[in-house]
Amino acid sequence: MSEKVIKSADRVAEEIVEWAGAHGLETAFERAERLKPCPIGHSGACCKICFMGPCRLVGPEAEESAQGVCGATLPVVSARNFLRMVAAGTAAHSDHARDMAYTLLEAATGEAPDFTIKDEGKLRRLADIIGVPTGERSKEEIAKDVAEHIISQFGQQKGEISYIKRAPEKRQEVWRKWGIVPRGVDREVAEAMHRTNMGVDQDPENLMTAALRVSLADGWAGSMFSTDITDILFGTPTPRRSEASIGIMKEDEVNIVVHGHEPSLAEMMVEASQEQEILDYARQKGAKGINLVGMCCTANEVLMRHGIPTAGGFLNQELAVMTGLAEAIMVDVQCIMPAIAQAAKKFHTKVVTTSNKGKMLDAVHIEYDEHRAKEVAREVLRLAIDNYANRTTEGSRVHETSPVIAGFSHEYIEYMQGGRFRASFRPLNDAIMAGRIRGVVGIVGCNNPRITQDSVHDYLAKEFIRNDVLVVSTGCGAAACAKAGFMTPETALEMAGPGLKEVCEAIGVPPILHLGSCVDNSRILTVATQMVREGGLGDDIADLPAVGIAPEWMSEKALAIGCYFVASGMYVIFGSESPVDASSEVKEIMTKQWAERFGGKLEFIPDPEDILKKTLEAIDSKREALKLRKYEPGRFGTERKLMTMADRRKLEAAARPHEGVK
């Protein structure tokens, strides 16, 4: 008998997968086993952008000699494929952001009456950054201008995207030097599509540079706009306690899973599910209450702001159906498997699509309309409540959950280090300089059924904190750590290295911070920028002892994120194989050439231990370059400079107080 294959490190998920197998039900885990990836496409060697092909650029000397019908070489084909993926990822995040911008606009004009401006302070800070006058104006007036400005950034044709100036000055110069400052979001995406169209850009280097440019339109525009607008509309997250696990489904309540990415309707669901009328309706139908459960990045949004529990990341969606406890799964856009509608046929679960952009066969479609947003939410809720009576005993029911503390917006991260009056990044920078914290790692990105679910996320998170590396996490990476129970302050006491533990204890935080959804990777950019501005760790993001990792990636969005981190100066490691594995030239560009030009590089490393080793090496070498004290576990401390009166006179005349997060 062959050894049992562990499909998920999430114990509850694993149990459901096993149950499904035993009951003849199939999930992505089995499909992944059955359906091996096409090796040609997987490695970037397949060109199908015109109908002369698809052309397979394979063979023993493919790099040098293989050609498509048009004569495109392997590096050209791989780079083109790569750029297309990055453009698609950017388009996804940015289109999401566009919806948010319109919601803000209509909240400001009163056309979307269910939405209000919850964080006026952030609105005003944002207005200052983009040059919208504030002063005595009402928040609605300001919001209207801010929304219109942001909307204009999508269609801007010339010049620079306004948020670029939020990056460290040195970084902006690098971007200008290499011509990768995005002009407008849509223009970069459209141009990428044009460049990769048959017979346009045939220079691998030029194509790869374009990938960085379009990715910046994601990180420093689309995603960052989305994070900011979402905070303004729904409140900037602060830490809250909740639970994570698919086991969060309740036996005696109406369970509704909100799945996808855009938070607007989910926010309305949160509000509407607390309305007395809806609750009464649920009771009338025999349920004790309504249990709203998040999934994927929608989960991260409502977890960060309301403490709504998360049922986990992307790979848990089918499993949610298989608990037999979900009355409805409401979805919008991105990372939604059509398989859920098929799985739902075997259970009472209703799959409700809500976006005109994302419809699905065998699903109920209730179209979201921001003008009557809450009413739509009520409609979905009633549908789910009505469905409660149809629940059977069928399903895999495990009720095990892990506690989680989530809600670390960059504003709160700044606040938690000094309170309202002394908020800054000084303590974090100090801790890194003193060797209490070795460095910072972002563990982000997806799950992928070709890798045991969560296993690499969990392994890396555990190892990093043991090695005094502070971890920040978003997306399905954050869901993995949450389900594993790592995002609690106790984890710091039990598992973190001695220096990291001391810092976590002083502040009261988990050693792994939940920063939100995948668009919230923009928060990591802001945090990194703030660390640079705070001083002591160089003058560019590229100087920070920090690494970005997407160990279980699968989405094109992950590649866009990876690229904007590289363009921002960071070393980025993706797990599993490279989508450009076929071309050594392209691999060379994204490592050596990008490192030389941008200070960051993108590597694909399948072995988790290798990821760990390379990350720690990179952190240590950045520490060395910064002339920081050598990291030694358990040995740290700030060298005291004891000040005489003469020293004190020499203090910088106007000692610059911390500027605050921008």
Partner: protein, 732 residues
């Protein structure tokens, strides 16, 4: 662990908040919401609330508003398990505690309960610290005489330990504030039991009996950034960054801690002030809010002071002469009463003098001490009164005759900084007392010479190479040598009088205050001394010789562009660079256009009174109203912080009798109002100048607080006496 501290601080903040709220309700019921309140002698309302929020609390109603703001800063205690973060929340609670304490103490003033009086001993605590004290101490804060501040909260395990800790702090010149109690005892009581002298003069200031009284010390600190640092009220980032970078304060918490102590400590940590405890408390070591550790412990009382100083990042340089008593500027203000006196010299009791004399290098022997006079030892041992002439002979390659006056002026401080010995006066009117306790500690006559030898070297290290000290102990010798000294002083005084701005080619800057007032630059000329009154042109010159990279730098005059207003190209060039661009140009001889800036520790303020066509002068410490409708403390707020304010200027008292005083505006004839105290201080020299100006009765024509405190009466008076200012060209 830190969570215990955070929880305690959060609980404490609620307690202090409730306490303030209840008292406020009671006082409002008694006095009504519009009841007006201000702390004694301050222009900064409730300074902590004002500095951090910009909100000026003036009435009980304002206190209500301030308490509502405070309430926003309160938080819930962290959960026992799976807690949300608490550091930011605990620091907010700390600030809330300070706000609530400030309101509570203000209310206690209204109720007549402050300053606190100890019910057992009758000792009256200091209470709120006035702006005047703050400004008085200005120069000590910057010249190294008062490098740091310690707030001791609670009580030492026994009286002797309390004395030991406080003495150690005094020897390091650290100003000590006392508050709070532990197990019913307090350091104040412990020191009182041991008959330790308390008060500002000896750097030990008991603030009150409760932990909440620590707020007075923090109120004092927060004003420093506004007074000296030019930070604006409400600019909490600027104010708090200043505290962290420039105010070297820390807390020593003796005895067990309760919630209110933790909460107050959390407030202090907002200011970058760490706490070191003598009990086994949890610690917070990661840095960043404070420069180093936030909370630490040291159970060994022998080490706790040093530990605290290091944790605050402070370096205290103390050089002590080889004498058997403690030494440091903290002992400078100590008094010795007659009955405590073992022996005294000078005053009116015996002939005495002290004289610094310049010699060639081969004429004296460094470290040599000569004591002249028969049986001097026996006579000293008997105590009582004795003649004493002190001759300090100095030689050095870089020594100049001009510096003698400065070396000689320091002889006063040399003696006075010893614990149990006391000095006043100078030259031939000096007066020295040695107490019984110093004598018992083994202080000998020779030690006076040893002090002068060691301290003259220390203070003038690079210009003095050799110091020989001779003490004359017989009346005959003292009188003989005094004559020689008098001849020397006469020559010296004549030479000093001849020094004018025109006769030198270099002025000196004074940047000593830049440790506190970063954009202020004093320009010191022979005819304009520093506004603190402590540094004149010669001091600057000598200090530059001693330390060419120090706080006094030469300013080449350059070209005199405007002889009336006193504008020099060299001064402008220097200022631009030294003020970091904050000041572009300076007129030395006018108040009306680009006048000198101030750090905040000026002796006097000159301010124009347009309707009287002249200026008024009021000194620090004058608490009455002035004719321009502002008290000194309020006026001072508009002058400090390194900003040029035409029409307002901080000066040293002696500048009033300089020929360059408002030279461009008409000189002393512009003075229309001046306090009696200033009149008294300057009268002799003023009279000479007034006569030279042709107005011999000018001093009488100048109004003072006994004549009027408002401008209307002032103008009436000036008209009545025919003050010359009324006839002068318009000052504006």
């Amino acid at each position: 662990m830190s969570k215990i501290i955070a929880s305690a601080a959060i609980r404490g903040s609620h307690k202090v908040f409730r306490q303030a709220e209840e008292l406020l309700q009671k006082v409002i019921a008694e006095k009504g919401e519009d009841y007006h309140f201000e702390f004694p002698d301050t222009a900064y309302a409730l300074p902590m609330i004002y500095g951090i929020t910009g909100f000026e609390v003036k009435t009980l109603k304002d206190m209500k508003t301030a308490l509502r703001m405070t309430q926003d800063l309160l938080h819930d205690e962290p959960e026992e398990k799976i807690w949300t973060p608490y550091l930011g929340e605990a620091l907010d609670s700390g600030m809330a505690t300070l706000f609530a304490e400030e309101i509570w103490l203000a209310l206690r003033y209204i109720e007549g309960l402050e300053p606190t009086k100890d019910p057992e001993t009758g000792y009256v605590y200091n209470g709120f610290i006035t702006d005047t004290i703050q400004r008085n101490l200005g120069i000590q804060l910057v010249d190294g005489r008062m490098p740091g501040f310690a707030a001791i909260i609670g009580a030492a395990p026994d009286d002797d330990t309390a004395v030991r800790i406080v003495r150690e702090l005094q020897e390091k010149n650290i100003l000590v504030f006392l508050s709070g109690s532990s197990n019913g005892d307090s350091v104040t009581k412990q020191l009182l039991r041991k008959n330790v002298e308390l008060g500002w003069d000896v750097y030990i200031v008991p603030l009150g009996t409760e932990t909440e009284h620590t707020l007075y010390a923090l109120d004092w600190a927060i004003r420093a950034s506004m007074i000296f640092g030019g930070m604006k009220p409400g600019d909490f980032r600027g104010n708090l960054q200043y505290q962290k970078d420039r105010v070297f304060a820390f807390a020593l918490v003796l005895g067990e801690l309760d919630d209110v102590k933790w909460a107050t400590g959390a407030g202090a940590i907002n200011m970058g002030f760490p706490a070191v405890c003598d009990t086994d408390v949890p610690v917070i070591h990661p840095t960043g809010v404070c420069t180093y550790e936030e909370v630490d412990k040291e159970l060994d009382h022998e080490k706790i002071v040093q530990k605290a100083i290091e944790v605050r990042g402070l370096k205290v340089l103390v050089e002590k002469p080889p004498i058997p008593i403690a030494y440091g500027s903290a002992f400078e203000g100590e008094r010795i009463r007659k009955e405590e006196t073992f022996i005294e010299f000078g005053g009116t009791r015996s002939p005495a003098f002290e004289w610094a004399r310049l010699r060639e290098l081969d004429e004296i022997e460094d470290g040599k001490i000569n004591i002249v006079g028969e049986n001097w030892k026996e006579r000293y041992e008997q105590g009582g009164v004795m003649p004493l002439g002190i001759l300090v002979e100095v030689a050095g390659r870089k020594m100049q005759p001009d510096f003698l006056a400065i070396v000689e002026r320091r002889l006063h401080h040399n003696i006075n900084e010893g614990q149990g010995i006391w000095h006043m006066g100078q030259r031939d009117i000096n007066w020295i007392r040695i107490s019984h306790s110093a004598k018992q500690a083994g202080f000998s006559l020779e030690d006076i010479a040893k002090i002068h030898h060691a301290m003259t070297h220390k203070r003038f290290s690079t210009i003095v190479d050799k110091v020989e000290v001779t003490l004359f102990t017989t009346e005959e010798d003292v009188v003989k040598w005094r004559e020689a000294a008098r001849t020397d002083w006469k020559i010296r005084d004549e030479r000093l009088a001849a020094l004018t701005d025109e006769t030198v080619d270099t002025f000196y800057s004074c940047l000593l205050c830049q440790s506190f007032a970063p954009s202020h630059v004093c320009v010191i000329t022979p005819e304009r001394l520093g506004l603190c009154g402590a540094y004149n042109w010669l001091d600057g010159k000598a200090a530059y010789e001693i330390d060419p990279t120090g706080g006094n730098q030469p300013v080449p005059k350059g070209e005199l562009v405007d002889p009336r207003y006193g504008r020099y190209t060299g001064v402008d060039e220097y200022l631009k660079q030294a003020s970091g661009g904050a000041v572009e140009t300076l007129n030395l001889y006018t108040i009306m256009e680009n006048p000198m800036t101030s750090c905040g520790c000026f002796e006097c303020i000159v301010a124009i009174i347009p309707e009287a066509n002249g200026v008024m002068i009021v000194q620090r410490g004058h608490t009455g109203m002035t004719p321009i409708g502002m008290k000194f403390s309020t006026l001072a707020g508009t002058v400090g912080g390194g900003v040029q304010t035409p029409g307002f200027m901080g000066i040293g008292v002696n500048f009033i009798t300089s020929k360059k005083f408002l030279f461009g505006d008409g000189g002393i004839k512009r003075i229309v109002w001046m306090t009696k105290a200033i009149k008294e201080r300057v009268k002799e020299k003023f009279q000479q100048i007034a006569e030279a100006e042709g107005v011999p009765d000018l001093l009488d024509k100048i109004a003072d607080e006994t004549v009027c405190e408002d401008s209307e009466k002032l103008v009436e008076y000036l008209t009545e006496v025919g003050h010359p200012a009324l006839e002068m060209e318009s000052i504006i």
